[in-house]
């Protein structure tokens, strides 16, 4: 028989205002096994924990129930408390009477009765708890960063700096990501490439960093400290170790009609290509779908041109298997597709562009050499209209329900840069709200209005259409309460951003939680913002939520710090709530093996002593280091031989019984 102590927390007024804690204490005292019960204002406080420790010693408690906030908040705290008093930490159960009770019910009697039932269920469970001992697992001292944009680069550099090996997997032929495509950065107007490319060079030069560009993560197995990852390195058809990046092949390549992805498809590129001058690695790749050699078997001009003999048309995709202790998601974002926003003519008129396209047009390495020109006739525009919130804050199903966060600031930047370089150009910005929370952000926006004369008009654009060869914008000025019809030469759409399309599949592979918008969920929105709830998976950059560059870099550094903290450990304690097979009940039928996602179950022939009958039987065996404790096997097992420690059949049924009493 257990001797159970029950500790009911008031959580100040969070619980006590709705739940009569004294009544809960009285009620649980009548439960079998309960030897002691009390309440206190803050059980998690130093004083509260002392009450628990003292009671454990004084009453020789064998198990405790804390009726408090969610176990997700303080289960770990109270387990430590129990351990400090000499009790096995797994003899602790939490009855969640705050999130699941006091915070959602108003009627005090109702809430109190529910709290009593939740406490009774926890008591019933503890009655069947058994002490559990955590195992140990090793840590592979190497990290994987998925994504080679500024987030991935910063995380990898920080991890490498601490002396750990780190690999970057980037799906594009070069690292750099979106930041490499930007012209200037707000609010300082730094040249984006000038601040990014030194970091890219650092990555290439750092001996702790291995780069896998033009590569994708194919499969992830394992768990914190021991991930096993399959990486597919796609064939570049150019030998990375030989190519010098001289670009001679590009000048000779006759297939010049590929869309230049780096310039958002605004101009063309050759089939053999280096995305941009500062690409890392500075190595060409061949777009096999475009290459004449691959399509017809004839050509081979690049091979003839290359003095380094780097071209290899027979190169195959390479599969790389590596072990990692930690994985960082830094998969970034894409602007959304605008096919559902026909009213802005984006797909029909070349002078209606996205903000990212404008970045390329403004950039000296871009399709117009940095001169602001209309893409339709390469003429100088006399007026440019910006439309904000295109697809952001949209719950109609056409766009994204969230604020993309970066658009207000980059639009102010674009407007300012245009007015600065071309004072003759009239710039109008249609906005719903201008959001500028950030250091020097509002000052920056005000400068655009006050110093550079950008017209900010509160109101949205209803439609854009073409009339007599020029663009017309029909909009509203909400402050003047007027409908406006303006002629303009260019329209720039502040397009909503969404997580990279690869995020969902990767999250599935990593078993990281992901929300309905495909942002990866953090372990706690306030207190653990760079970790996934899945141990060993960390989040860096926009994959977790919209962010600008400074925020991304801070988060990248924070994720690196968490990774370093993990890799610095030699051993990790494992979850002791793992499956266990009773060899006397096991039929050896192999059904459990089939549903185990970790390959943790194997079968051995074992001599058993079944009530005096000695025989060799085929029985299931659980590798406790591999088992993560999901319990899929326990339900597959018809005889009930397979059970889950900490969540045994009898424990769960005891909870059911207590609730239904």
């Amino acid at each position: 028989m257990q001797k159970i102590g029950v500790f009911v927390c008031w959580c100040g007024s969070n619980i006590a205002a709705t739940v009569d804690v004294a009544e809960v204490v009285q009620a649980v005292k009548t439960q079998p096994g309960v030897a002691f019960a009390t309440d206190y204002q803050y059980m998690c406080s130093e004083a509260g924990q002392s009450i628990i420790k003292n009671a454990i010693k004084e009453h020789d408690l064998t198990g405790i129930v804390v009726c408090s906030c969610s176990p997700r908040m303080h289960e770990a705290t109270f387990r430590k408390t129990a351990q400090a008093a000499g009790l096995n930490p797994y003899m602790v159960e939490i009855a969640n009477i705050r999130e699941h009770c006091s915070w959602i019910h108003k009627d005090k009697n109702e809430a109190t009765q529910k709290a009593i039932i939740l406490a009774n269920a926890a008591v019933a469970k503890v009655n069947l708890n058994a002490p559990l001992v955590q195992g140990e697992s090793s840590v592979t001292k190497r990290a994987l960063v998925i994504g080679g944009g500024i987030a991935g680069i910063q995380t990898a550099l920080d991890i490498a700096e601490a002396g750990y090996e780190v690999d970057i997997v980037e799906k594009e032929p070069t690292i750099g990501g979106k930041m490499a495509q930007l012209d200037k950065t707000f609010p300082t107007l730094d040249c984006s490439a000038c601040i990014l490319t030194p970091k890219m060079v650092d990555v290439a030069a750092n001996e702790n960093i291995t780069l896998y560009t033009y590569s994708e993560v194919e499969q992830v197995k394992g768990f914190v400290g021991n991930f096993s990852v399959t990486i597919k390195k796609k064939a570049r058809y150019v030998k990375e170790d030989l190519c010098t990046g001289c670009g001679e092949c590009m000048s000779k390549c006759p297939s010049k009609k590929g869309k230049d992805e780096f310039n958002c498809g605004l101009n063309n590129r050759t089939a053999i290509n280096i995305p941009f001058a500062q690409a890392i690695p500075n190595v060409a790749y061949i777009d096999a779908e475009q290459c004449i050699k691959f399509k017809t078997g004839k050509c081979g001009l690049c091979e003839k041109t290359c003095s380094a003999n780097a071209i290899d048309y027979n190169q195959k995709d390479e599969i790389i298997e590596r072990e990692y202790g930690a994985i960082v998601m830094a998969t970034g974002y894409e602007p959304i597709k605008l096919d559902k926003f026909d009213e802005y003519q984006y797909s029909k008129h070349p002078d209606v562009i996205t903000s990212l396209e404008l970045e390329r047009i403004m950039n000296a390495a871009g399709p117009t050499g940095g001169t602001l020109l209309k893409m339709s006739d390469k003429e100088h525009p006399h007026s440019v209209t910006f439309i904000q919130c295109v697809g952001s804050r949209d719950i109609s199903g056409r766009g994204k329900p969230y604020c993309s966060k970066i658009c207000c600031m980059y639009t102010a930047k674009h407007a300012m840069l245009i007015r600065d370089k071309y004072p003759d150009v009239e710039v109008n910005v249609f906005y719903i709200d201008v959001r500028t929370p950030g250091k020097n952000f509002d000052e920056f926006y005000r400068r655009a209005v006050e110093e550079y004369g950008v017209n900010y008009i509160k109101g949205q654009v209803g439609k854009v259409y073409e009339k007599d060869g020029h663009l017309v914008v029909q909009a509203v000025d909400l402050i003047a309460n007027k409908q406006l019809v303006l002629d303009t030469d260019m329209v720039v759409l502040a397009t909503a951003i969404e997580p990279s399309k690869t995020a969902r599949d990767l999250a599935s592979m990593l078993t990281a939680s992901i929300d309905t918008n495909d942002f990866i969920t953090e372990a706690h929105p306030k207190l653990r913002p760079v970790e996934s709830p899945t141990a060993g998976i960390f989040l860096s950059g926009v994959c977790q939520g919209p962010k600008d560059i400074p925020e991304t870099v801070s988060q990248a550094g924070a994720a690196a710090a968490k990774v370093i903290g993990l890799l610095a450990k030699d051993k990790l304690l494992t979850n002791p709530c793992v499956a266990h097979s009773d060899e006397l009940l096991c039929n050896g039928c192999s059904q459990c093996e089939k549903v185990c996602p970790y390959g943790a179950i194997s079968y051995i022939d074992k001599e058993v002593n079944d009530h005096g009958v000695r025989e060799t039987r085929r029985v299931a065996q659980v590798n406790e280091a591999l088992c993560q404790g999901c319990g899929a096997c326990t339900v597959t097992c018809p005889s009930g031989a397979m059970d889950l420690k900490g969540f045994t059949n009898r424990q769960i049924m005891a909870e059911v019984d207590a609730i239904c009493k």
Binding site: E343, G459, A475
Partner: protein
């Protein structure tokens, strides 16, 4: 006091099936509206006025009858607010106040004949069922 009549606001929201509080005042409805210049109150204003319960001003406005029911505002609203449905609810409200031509849904079947266009029947039910 911002709220003129919460009760009236609820009545219109109920009748139109539109939750006007979802509006974020972007003005896209007014930017889109082909009848904007004819109106005294504009689409984004209707929505705001319903939220605030200022129904009486709306009922006496000519905007109510200037709306073409083209549904461009419904189509483009990023918040799913459906201003045109608000207009329809306001029209119905006004219709119902005129005692003489107020009929109940039960009266309609008796008024139907074979030649009546489908659209008219549906619209009659829509008006009087609300």
């Amino acid at each position: 006091m911002v709220h003129k009549s919460l009760e009236q606001a609820c009545l219109i929201m109920d009748r139109s099936g539109v939750d006007t509080r979802k509006c974020m005042m972007c003005g896209k409805c007014s930017a889109t509206c082909p009848a904007f210049d004819e109106m005294d109150y504009h689409p984004h204003q209707f929505v705001k006025m319903v939220t605030e319960g200022d129904i009486e001003s709306l009922l006496s406005s000519k905007s109510l009858w200037k709306c073409l029911s083209c549904f461009a505002c419904v189509e483009r609203c990023p918040r799913g607010v459906e201003p045109a449905n608000v207009v329809e609810a306001l029209r119905v409200t006004l219709l119902r106040r005129q005692g003489e031509n107020y009929i109940t849904a039960d009266d309609i079947p008796g008024l139907l004949d074979d030649k009546l266009p489908q659209q008219a029947i549906v619209s009659a039910f829509r008006k009087y069922k609300k």
